[in-house]
Point group: C2
Chain length 518, copies 2
């Protein structure tokens, strides 16, 4: 697989000084493979007709003009909107038809997010798909099957698993909430973990504007002053649907946009509660919200990199619970992708979403439905691509490795069909003929190693072998894989001076204010 | 849901004579809902470029012309091919470029398979998708978690579950192998079960030509002499890939085609063993085999209804086991759909395929990957849509109901996006405005009942409630659903005279020869 880069030798070199022991470590160190982000060689699947798109785009502009959006507790934002030509009444911003779309035009259609290992840089937008892990759960399901509050140690484990996962391109952000660290300080530990335990790109903090400032400052330590010349973080700015932009999230967006860092501007919608129960109505609201939020990012700094987000689930009308992997969510994903491409903007949606409390069949059906829709729907940045459980309340180690394994499938489907002479395999068909078999033929021998995607965790053994070895279900197989990966983890090399400077920054900032909780 | 028809009252009437008890039974009988077959309002997903299609079609004709296909132990077939203009040497049939495609042109692009309840008739071809259960497993995984040989009682249970499953349109064929009945007689019991325990369409026997004759004869009892004027069965004719057509399967096809019954002509391929390890090479062979098989059906009777089949899995090159839900299988499915549509023929592929030994996360990932590909890839007839486990060795009751539940999702995705005024929901967005919520608004109240697909088996309860009630995983939830459905089962009404005549035919045929096993 030409797209897979091997990182182990350098990582091993990083851990030891040199000489015989280092060489031995190098030889025995497990390979840490990292696939390049996906570049699709397949078309996008689209559910909206041109007429449907026209109606939804027209309606979204009508909503922006007639109903408007609220920018809460943010007088500077209101001034910016007024100056741009919007009608501002109190905190309500009514945006004349066409203005938001026009403002969005300065955002780049594609950008590079830089990683400290340049081989891990990702291209966000165009035909590309970048996969990032779960974001936000306050709980973990640990390997003993306990559901408990997440800790910083759990966080570090997820960062390590992400680093070790071949098909995961991005280290993510709040892979779980480290609830054992003060709420006003945990972002520092999280950033330090991403920066030192992985060499993949990562996300910044959005929970207060000053934490976004910390994120930028730590990036300057890691990347130098060039950090703010190009995107080194991609951070998640949720919109308070319906149609509301709060000061915390907008404050973080302002910091990032001003410093040329990327934001995902993402309506966060449980359909039926925060948007209409219909697909077309939800898409109209998603488009109105994304237009307003992305336009605002361009008011802060024209050209600031941004991603059109859409996080949409349905609601179970009996229990009120959010549901995942549903047909409505898939259709909204497909449609939102079309709307984002009409704006020529990178698109974020989908991921390994599920409502199940366990990494069981329910979780996997729901997850696979979402992963498949996200691949075919043209998603460019997939948050929650692995590890998400129980509606995002729980991060699961087992599900992390099960999902991460499935992500390999996306790479292979996206590559499309090889129609070269070798792909056509006419010599093989001629060689084998009626009634023969292909196992030993020359074409098979030459191609079998790379011909098929192969799971690293699922079980293909014969029934009897599997039963003799304890009949493990997927959860048991996943637990074994988590343990194996953690045993094999070796941190990627980092300049010791930079690591020290990061630790110093974290310590100083932690000492500068008292702990806050809740 | 306008497409769902309610069958319960009639079923209840059928069980009892009339009067007060019958009316009470009618009122308390659980509703047995049956969805209409799917008609897609979404496009097909295609991975082959026009150039790739051209190459594959050219290569398939080259294979037919240069390599040819083998019709084994079937002199009459060789005569037919010779008369049609093929070059026949021994059992090898070389088909001049273009001949097979020309012969295929007389097959209908769409046909109706009739059921004894006309409301259960299905349209096979065009934009339609018909869902049928698992076919062929010799084992079952029972509700006590035991893997054991399947029995006729298991078979009847699956037929009942299929009848009770809203989203399953077809009763299928060998839903499991009833190994407790003699191999030369079990087809009689299987047909009688489909005919009497369900009112959905079904498949005929293919394991010997004379069993196909029995299938036709029993259809004449059930449907009258009109049975052979139009398709009342759709039966599975596997090709012995590579490029081999055996006398048993071809003999069954000859019976069905001559009697105007539909056949699925289906290359059965474990990629890497029975076809090249490449997607394009496999598609070339699939096309060559389907062209030859379908052309042969038209030599038997021009206009005989037929389905272009493609059952393709990959092989795990380490263990030799077939694998499912893989990216290669998805790409072959998408490509084969394109090739079938170029022939203007109904297409069969996919289903709830998996390699897992348990209805766990592995099974569900693999199944959902296949179901999603089959929906978007334009499949018209989906065998194995529910209940398939362990590479088709095992039929699982739990997986049957889990998969059957997921099939509801396919219906909703296929319906596409409602862009009516009600779908646009502009009044709702205006009514709610920034910061409000939609739960109580007029549009939500008017639409919430039909707005979202809802699972009948997955768990959406809050964690605490779920934990208090024993923390059931998907398997446990599925077991409970199987038991509930079996408790609620009421056989659909059948003319007692017809039932008696069927039973008489079965008894006579069973008495006419000794039991054969193995």
């Amino acid at each position: 697989m030409a797209d897979v880069q091997e990182a182990a030798p350098r990582a091993a070199r990083g851990r030891r000084g040199g000489g015989g022991a280092a060489r031995r470590a190098e030889r025995t160190a497990p390979k840490i493979e990292a696939a390049r982000y996906i570049t699709r060689n397949i078309p996008d699947f689209e559910v909206l007709t041109p007429e449907a798109i026209e109606i939804i785009e027209y309606n979204a502009e009508t909503i922006l003009e007639e109903v408007g959006v609220a920018f809460v507790d943010n007088p500077a934002a209101l001034d910016r909107w007024r100056d741009a030509g919007a009608d501002v009444q109190g905190e309500r911003v009514r945006i004349p038809r066409g203005l938001a779309r026009k403002l969005c035009a300065t955002a780049p259609s594609q950008f590079t997010q830089h990683a400290r290992n340049p081989e891990r840089n990702v291209e966000i937008g165009g035909r590309n798909l970048v996969l990032a892990p779960v974001y936000g759960p306050p709980f973990v399901r640990d390997l003993d099957g306990n559901r408990r509050y997440a800790t910083m140690e759990d966080f570090r484990t997820f960062v390590k698993l992400g680093y070790m996962s071949k098909w995961v391109h991005h280290s993510g952000g709040t892979v779980c909430e480290p609830t054992d660290v003060a709420v006003n300080k945990r972002h520092l530990d999280m950033l330090e973990a991403h920066m030192t335990l992985s060499d993949k790109p990562f996300m910044g903090s959005v929970t207060e504007p000053e934490r976004a400032v910390d994120s930028v400052e730590m990036c300057k330590i890691l990347f130098g002053e060039k950090a703010t010349e190009a995107p080194h973080m991609t951070s998640l700015i949720n919109i308070n649907s319906p149609l509301t932009f709060d000061a915390t999230m907008m404050g973080a967006l302002e910091v990032y946009a001003a410093n040329m860092q990327a934001c995902i501007v993402s309506p966060f919608i449980v359909g039926g509660a925060m948007a209409p129960v219909s697909v077309a109505g939800t898409l109209t609201q998603v488009l109105a919200e994304a237009l307003a939020g992305i336009a605002y990012s361009q008011l802060i700094r024209p050209g600031a990199p941004v991603i059109f987000g859409a996080f949409v689930t349905s609601i179970d009308m009996n229990s009120g619970a959010p549901t995942f992997g549903t047909p409505e969510a898939s259709k909204i994903l497909y449609g939102a992708g079309q709307l984002a491409r009409r704006l020529n903007l990178p698109f974020r949606s989908g991921g390994g979403l599920c409502g199940s409390k366990l990494p069981d069949a329910q979780a996997a059906y729901e997850t696979a439905n979402t992963l498949n829709a996200a691949l075919l729907g043209g998603v460019n940045f997939m948050l929650h691509s692995c590890g998400w459980l129980e509606g995002g309340l729980v991060a699961s180690f087992e599900k992390f490795v099960l999902d991460a394994d499935q992500l390999g499938i996306l790479h292979s489907v996206a590559a499309g069909v090889d129609i070269s002479e070798n792909g056509q395999a006419m010599d093989a068909i001629r060689e084998v003929g009626p009634g023969g078999h292909y196992l030993g033929c020359a074409h098979t021998q030459a191609n079998f190693k790379d011909a098929f995607w192969r799971s690293e965790v699922l079980d293909y053994r014969p029934y009897e072998t599997w039963a003799d070895e304890g009949a493990p279900d997927s959860m048991a197989l996943a637990r074994a894989r988590v343990n194996k990966m953690m045993n094999e983890y070796i941190a990627p090399k980092i300049d010791p001076g930079i690591a020290e400077e990061l630790a110093g920054y974290v310590a100083r900032r932690k000492a500068s204010e008292p702990d806050a909780f809740g």
